[in-house]
Symmetry: C2
Subunit: 664 residues, 2 copies
């Protein structure tokens, strides 16, 4: 029975349950530059010997590990952290060992019998000498200590020598790690730029940017709209596909089967005689125009995001050039997209089960490479859940290896586990179910899951109250207060959020038919002329909200989100704080767009102080109003016709002279 | 960027979160023969295609996998199960694939347009033909179906043909699994015999079985006590170490430093001139006597468990023969066990950091091998947490590979994670913190963790209300009701439990000193003469409890444990059921040994039926009393001086004629 080989029986420490860890290390966790990774692990040995534990981390391409000490936090759990300072991939793991000197030192502290102490000092002297052998630079000093310990005739004096803090620290610098245990997996962190975590997005159909007598907007006319968008405080301008639109089976207005001669078709029906995914729609301009537009946008502080829609119109050049990439039917036609009995005859999906799947993947990756070369760094990916997981994992890994600033937003409105899987395998951000979470219970449950659940390590939500496909019932029936409330919720629950405009700020709310979430006269199928100067536009309100986001670090992170009790179900209350707790934002939203609602909110002691302490100020950053609050329970009343939300900055330093000016 | 190789892009299914799984498959889960392993997994593909999922399992040495279908249970989760029928190790994993025929069939059901249906039938016919190519035995039948589908001029009739259940089942038998995904780990199950899950243990010092004028009991005198122990209904008789006891530094009565000439010493100070861990204490008898004793015990339905205490008395033969196996101090003495300022001079621990650690391990394994050859199959391991984890993992694996019926009970009264680690790496059962869980909250929290937490898959509790080291305050001060209550709790909360007797049934309750959990005049250091016939002995009560355990399968499993609400904190109420739910036991214990306590207990609907349904009977298997209850809330009142607990069998079939006799 003796043939199960054990390589080194003196390796006595066990390391378990290292966190954060996604699927046993199969996938990386995500951070942005400047964030810290707090790592915990269970580490323990048999018996009662002292254990030491260190965190090991490195930028993927660094020559060696950096180590940071881990502290015992009770119940054999250890905690350490490191800060990620560069984009790219980091690795981390944990090492731990039985520390004989530390064990000996702990025992010595508790020894009482002078004879025992005398003997213990001799043992300890040997341990110090062993440390000297490992510490060339400190060998002489250590040997002197060892000698003093060994020779001391007064055990109590010798013990004082041996327990000296400096000696302890010195020996600790040269531990005996021959039998250390290293956690058996190297875990990974993908480090993105800040925009991956924090940003306000604006989606716009460029063809609707019609200027003067134009029938079809182009990149030049879009340039004129940049000041308007930047003025609202957005960071990312996302354009639906800018490629030639298919003519064959083109859809007409309101998704009708036959297009009129002037109908522009859906931009997601990509490809026509003029080109495919690497071409620009001729009516939008040339590639040169696009480059210039990107440059102009950059001058306005706006970064362009392109749509990646891996599907083809029937007249996409791929269909003739690569018939093997599509599925053919017995009647000699190509299988269009369908979900029986629904048909999407203007869309041919790729056949990812073709023998030439490798060719398909390579070409799709080449599309992304093409736009990377053009300077695009943000991609909003259309329906990634209908393409193989492996494609995304390899595509994103390859892109990010060369271009770590690339950002991929997954538009996977699908089942939860599929949505999460896409995030695990590399998508930087993801659309969410936010649009359909309207009641307090729904919002609290969902955002608690996103901010506290296991997915927080890899799933970054990007919250959209509307999209060209999603006009929710709440917006259809709630009027102006509903738009304002959903904007505040999106912009404060999510460090990343976006709107589809100008439909949003102009409060477009008519559905194609009752019960539908499609817009009436949807821009997906026609060009809309928006009156951006309409006096009821929400553009100023949006600008204010985005300014509050930029000025309050609390709103630029998601993990600190906490919900607070309110005794009225129509009100929701939550707070966020920045990492240093120097910026605390408290949000209260009236979810009922029709009625004034009021209630008592109850804050935890870390926000409100203990009962009876001095009052604090809550400053509504939207209205400018300031309130003095005291204690944990405070009253709020919100009239949705004025503004359906408070976004309070919590200010603590009330009644100290030096802040007097500050509150004026 | 194209050099990240993907082996097969058409493998579209993802398998995640397979359960049960201990530390990502690093350790096996545990079952006993006849139990089932319910396996769940998340399995899904991109898009909307139908997925099929199977569980694969095999006895480790079986030539190939057996497969069992898994059923979708919602949210992309699948469930299947297999029964383990033999001791040893099983493996399991999960496979899943996109099923093109099933996808096609689902689409066909929803198609409406006759032209579409006609085309779909041709596509389906090709899929059926492809199945025929994979199904030599059914090829002809399948081809006929394909032909009929292809040729049908009436699409609606053709659809009926194609949707035929038999055809669906036939094609399903021959799926196209070329691109299936197999979960990337093979998970393991250790299958033990029933005794690993269910058994009542009795610990006894054989040297205290003094018969007539004996000074020191022996295996012969122990034989006389077997009927008494078996009469109480125990299954396992566990003996503290039966080896020669060290003379050097032997402890005297009540753990005094100097032993008198007649003091027998602690049996855990193993080894003397007469031999070490492979020898029998001469005063207990010979190895031959031990064999005979084991045989007699077997005749009484009792299995002998031996103590494995890997440590040495100073005069153990190992100390001279293998000085390298111990740690030497600068004064030329061997380091004894200590926890400063406490010293255990009668015990030399092995130095597991010796250069010859391999030699130590091999010899310790050889000790276990020795007793295996003598027929011992149950080992209670003393303080396994003070020996290297790797030793136990390899020792237990090696033993169980050749002797899967071996059972190892871990006596690791130590920190929670160490305790759990020992269970993970192979210990069959473990002592627990039960002895120190006395209040309802403590008991509910702890046993909820053990029966519902992640550890339930590998940690089998064995509950001991007392041991030679543990006389709890509850027993010291609670009198007879305390002993009865703790017995009922141990015997019903734990399918495995044990007592240290006769101290338990004779309600020995005096501590060595106030505040100590050590027994006064502990048998660890002296021979006790017990009066087994004392009229107040609990032996009959114990016998009744053990009979109830044997007669009620509900009490032979731990995972079904559920606690129920009671409006009095002094009462605890819980139920257990067998796998078939044909045996339901409901326990109510008065935790207050001093006062009558009463309260309303509230049962869940699955126990009590919905409000207003017919009454049911609860039959107290301890007292024989029967009560008719109705609805969810029922009143109980327990006088601890009579019996501090009800152990009810819940009987459902009230008021049906055929059960009339049954209730007489």
């Amino acid at each position: 029975m003796a043939d199960i080989v054990h390589p080194e029986g003196r390796r006595r420490v066990v390391i378990e349950e290292v966190t954060p860890q996604v699927d046993g290390g199969r996938f990386p966790v995500k951070r942005t530059v400047g964030e810290t990774v707090v790592v915990e692990a269970d580490a323990f040995a048999d018996g009662h010997d002292a254990v030491r534990c260190v965190l090991r981390f490195r930028k993927e391409d660094a020559p060696g590990w950096t180590e940071a000490p881990m502290q015992a936090v009770g119940n054999d759990r250890w905690r350490g952290e490191f800060t990620v300072t560069e984009m790219g991939e980091y690795r981390y793991t944990v090492a731990a060992w039985v520390d004989r000197f530390l064990t000996w030192r702990g025992d010595l502290e508790r020894r009482e019998d002078p004879e025992d102490i005398g003997l213990a000092l001799k043992i300890g002297a040997a341990l110090v000498e062993a440390a000297a052998d490992r510490a060339p630079s400190q060998a002489a000093a250590l040997r002197r200590c060892a000698e003093a310990m060994r020779d001391d005739r007064d055990p109590l004096h010798g013990r004082r020598l041996a327990l000296d803090e400096e000696l302890g620290a010195l020996v600790a610098r040269f531990p005996d790690r021959r039998f250390e245990t290293i956690f058996d997996r190297e875990l990974r962190v993908t480090v993105d730029r800040e925009r991956a975590r924090f940003g306000a997005w604006y989606e716009m159909f460029p063809r609707s940017c019609v200027s003067g007598g134009q029938d079809h907007g182009d990149f030049r006319s879009c340039e004129e709209q940049l000041a308007y968008i930047a003025g609202m405080g957005f960071d990312v301008l996302y354009l639906p596909p800018i490629h030639p639109v298919g003519l064959v089976n083109r859809k007409g207005r309101n998704n009708t089967l036959t297009a009129g001669p002037d109908d522009p078709g859906s931009p997601w029906a990509v490809g026509a005689a003029a080109g495919g995914h690497k071409a620009v729609h001729p009516q939008l301009g040339t590639l040169e125009d696009f480059r210039r537009f990107m440059e102009r946008a950059r001058e306005h502080g706006l970064e362009i995001a392109l749509d990646v829609a891996f599907q083809c119109a029937p007249d996409h050049p791929y269909v003739k050039a690569h018939p093997r990439w599509f599925r053919w039917r017995p009647d000699g036609s190509v299988q269009y997209a369908e979900n029986p009995p629904k048909k999407y005859q203007d869309i041919y999906p790729f056949d990812f089960e073709t023998e030439d799947w490798g060719g398909v993947w390579e070409e799709l990756k080449d599309i992304v490479r093409f736009w990377l070369r053009e300077g695009v760094r943000i991609f909003r990916v259309d329906n990634p859940h209908t393409k193989p997981f492996g494609l995304w994992e390899s595509l994103i890994a390859e892109v990010k290896r060369d271009c770590p600033e690339a950002i991929f937003l997954s538009e996977a409105f699908t089942r939860p586990k599929v949505m999460l899987r896409l995030a695990k395998l590399g998508f930087t951000q993801s659309y969410t179910y936010f649009a359909w979470r309207n009641t307090r219970r729904e919002l609290e449950a969902y955002f608690t899951e996103l901010s506290r659940g296991a997915c927080r390590e890899y799933f970054r939500p990007n919250l959209w109250p509307n999209t060209p496909d999603i006009l929710t019932e709440y917006l259809q029936f709630g009027g102006r207060p509903a738009f304002m409330a959903r904007l505040v919720l999106a912009a404060t629950l999510g460090a990343s959020y976006g709107i589809y405009g100008p439909a949003f700020e102009l409060m477009e709310s008519a559905p194609r038919e009752p019960g539908s979430e499609e817009y009436l006269d949807s821009e997906k199928y026609e060009i809309r002329r928006w009156d951006l100067d309409r006096p009821d536009s929400l553009k100023d309100f949006i600008a204010r909200v985005n300014r509050v986001r930029r000025e309050n670090a609390a709103l630029q992170f998601d993990h600190s989100l906490r919900f607070h009790a309110v005794d009225n179900e129509a009100l929701i209350c939550y707070s966020k704080a920045d990492l240093a707790l120097s910026n605390i934002v408290l949000v209260v939203v009236n979810l009922d767009p029709h009625h004034v609602q009021s209630g008592w909110i109850e804050l935890p002691p870390e926000l409100a102080g203990k009962e009876g302490e001095r009052p604090y100020q809550v400053h509504d950053l939207l209205s400018g109003a300031r309130y003095l609050w005291q204690g944990r329970r405070n009253f709020v009343q919100i009239d949705p016709r004025a503004a359906p939300a408070h976004v309070f900055r919590v200010r603590w330093r009330v009644r100290t002279e030096r802040d007097f000016d500050y509150f004026m």
